[in-house]
């Protein structure tokens, strides 16, 4: 990769353009090996009640030693709940970064746009670096950018579905409409999905299930790393235009013909 293609997000800079979730791996060892193989520098965590019978959390301590944590508001249905969770996360993890998730229902896990905008506005006012998980809707994304979010994180397809980029045109429009980073969050199924998202102009990818539920998660983490890097390079390199007819690559002169 060319030097200094840094990913700037909020007040931080990253070399990796891959953000990973920490759930649903076969076991903690495979999770850590996958996170390491992916090259990620930022991983998401949820905020949950502390169980009094749990004196320490070995797995979380292990993650915390090697990666920056991005808390999320998963499981929140209203702006109010999400703001409360964000405040708890800020206190627990000493970060004002928050992946804002406000969900409409359990079947689709699609964002509730009204509550999302409300929550984002309030969290920005409270000084958070807000990274909202949102629909692949350009207008919602523009509004989130106007509010002052640090990035927009449109979904490619439903969470955990692995269905790939359902609407590449919208992702391109979003890329055109906002100047803040665009992070594709949810729906990535395999490395080519990640590469395509990057080619469409995404700044980074956030994913979890595509790696954690792969047959060989560490190998897939490595594949995703390459997919993201390949897509990013292709985007920067500028692809050729598509043509209907062939364009000869070898010279037309000097071809030896049979008499």
């Amino acid at each position: 990769m060319t030097m200094a293609d840094l990913f700037r997000l909020g007040d931080k800079e990253f070399t990796s353009r891959l953000i990973l979730g920490t759930a649903r791996y076969p076991n903690p060892q495979v999770m850590m090996d996958s996170l390491r193989a992916s090259g990620t520098e930022l991983v998401t965590v949820a905020i949950r009640r502390f169980n009094l019978k749990e004196k320490s959390n070995d797995v979380l301590d292990w993650i915390k030693n090697e990666f920056a944590l991005l808390p999320n508001t998963a499981g929140c249905y209203t702006a109010k709940e999400a703001i409360f969770t964000a405040e708890l996360a800020r206190e627990a993890l000493e970060t004002n970064w928050i992946k804002l998730e406000v969900i409409g229902d359990d079947e689709t896990l699609m964002p509730d746009v009204v509550e999302l905008l409300k929550g984002a506005e309030e969290l920005v006012r409270l000084g958070f670096t807000v990274l909202p998980y949102c629909n692949d809707d350009p207008i919602t994304c523009r509004k989130l950018a106007d509010i002052g979010c640090a990035a927009v994180m449109p979904l490619a397809a439903p969470i955990g579905s692995g269905a790939g980029i359902r609407n590449p045109f919208n992702i391109q429009i979003i890329r055109e409409l906002v100047t803040i980073p665009v992070i594709i969050d949810a729906g990535i199924g395999t490395a080519s999905d990640a590469a395509l998202a990057m080619e469409l102009g995404a700044d980074a990818i956030l994913l979890n299930t595509a790696i954690s539920r792969a047959e060989h998660p560490v190998m897939m983490a490595n594949a995703m790393r390459h997919g993201v890097e390949a897509g990013r390079l292709a985007y920067l390199a500028g692809r050729i235009p598509e043509t209907l007819f062939a364009e000869r690559s070898s010279p037309s002169e000097g071809i030896v013909r049979l008499a």
């Binding site: 903690p28 495979v30 169980n51 004196k55 070995d58 047959e215 060989h216």
Partner: protein
């Protein structure tokens, strides 16, 4: 354990064991299925053995477990090597039961191996995709896995919901009544002269200098009994909730039933075990509404007749898990200390393997020196 609300654990008694001279006895820390089966095996080979159990013998995860001996249904994509260990253990079960039957000599019930197989069912299109991927994997590594249509599955298991889309039949999986098994092991152990100290805790450090061998088999509580384990291969508890229903004469299952969301087993004593969750909740063992709801809903969707069954128990156990979820069975860093820890979901299944291998190691059998103590995660090469 008849009450729906589990009885609270009795408070531990700190026995004055720290100063005891074990003068050549083998000391096993932990009286669950693993500690009991090792203790019994050593006792029947003529050794002086003491088992020290922090609660009541066999009443932890070994009691709450469903007693599935189902390596074929449970194999993970990167667990082919581990699967071989599981299958070896399953193959050792007849020998264990035969020896155990001889030892209790009719004075106590020894459970039978139930060769019922697993029916892995798909209830939705997403389940079918899951089953296909699993079936392909099993065929690729040479395991027997039979695909059944909805009609075939329901012919094999008449109580299955008509909404069953398809199923995989894994005929080599078996089950056992783990409760009668642990009781029979404890019975045989004491009958063979073994010493059983319940409601007692002790640290490996307090016994290793005078005991002939110390075997750590403390399940989810292994960290508390050994600083070595705590630092080198920590064990954490993974909570598993389970529901026990009572079968009726109309509710009979021929196989173990599983879906991607859980299982339903018919045990030989009339219990119907519906499980199980996997939760990171520390040492909490409460039963919760959401988990019970999810498990019953899953059972109802697969086997609608479960709707009518009486609930007899709600309980939760703590699976002992290493970071790799693979067990550590064998030598520790200290000469006379052996680890038999981290059996996670496979304690009942791996009891024979663990018992015979640890007993061979302790007796320094020539072939036993080749037994590696940790199964390493391995990539399956296609």
């Amino acid at each position: 354990m008849n009450a729906i609300i589990p009885t609270p654990e009795p408070t531990e008694r700190t026995a004055p064991l720290a100063d005891r001279n074990w003068s050549g006895r083998h000391v096993i820390i932990g009286g669950g299925i693993i500690g009991l089966s090792i203790g019994w095996q050593l006792a029947r080979r003529g050794h002086a053995v003491t088992i020290i159990e922090k609660g009541a013998v066999g009443q932890g995860a070994s009691w709450v477990a469903a007693g599935m001996l189902a390596p074929y249904a449970e194999i993970g994509f990167e667990e082919v090597e581990f699967f071989r260990m599981c299958r070896e253990s399953l193959d050792l079960y007849p020998r264990l039961l035969e020896e155990l039957t001889a030892d209790v000599a009719g004075s106590f019930e020894v459970p039978m191996l139930d060769s019922c197989g697993t029916l892995l069912v798909a209830m939705t299109a997403d389940d079918e995709a899951y089953l296909k991927r699993f079936h392909d994997f099993q065929l690729r590594i040479g395991l027997r896995s039979t695909k059944l249509s909805s009609a075939e599955a329901r012919e094999q298991e008449p109580l299955l919901s008509p909404r069953t889309k398809s199923a995989l039949f894994l005929e080599a999986d078996k089950q056992i009544n783990n409760r009668t098994l642990v009781l029979a092991l404890a019975q045989a152990f004491t009958k063979l002269g073994g010493e059983l100290l319940e409601h007692t805790t002790i640290d490996v450090q307090n016994v290793e200098s005078t005991a002939a061998a110390v075997i750590l088999a403390a399940g989810a509580h292994a960290n508390a009994a050994s600083s070595d384990v705590r630092e080198s291969n920590p064990i954490r508890p993974v909570k598993g909730q389970i529901i026990m229903l009572r079968s009726t004469e109309h509710f009979q299952l021929r196989h173990m039933i599983r879906s991607p969301r859980g299982y339903i087993l018919h045990k030989d004593d009339g219990r119907v075990a519906v499980g199980a969750t996997a939760e990171e909740k520390g040492f909490d063992t409460s039963s919760t509404a959401g988990a019970v709801f999810d498990m019953l809903r899953n059972a109802y969707e697969i086997l609608p007749m479960t709707y009518e069954l009486e609930i007899t128990e709600l309980c939760a156990g703590l699976r002992p898990a290493t970071r790799s979820h693979l067990p550590e069975i064998g030598y520790s860093a200290h000469g006379n200390v052996y680890n038999a820890i981290g059996h996670y979901r496979h304690g009942i299944l791996l009891a024979p393997y663990t018992a015979y291998h640890i007993a061979d190691l302790v007796e320094k059998h020539p072939h036993a020196s080749h037994v590696l103590h940790k199964v390493q995660p391995s990539l399956h090469k296609k």
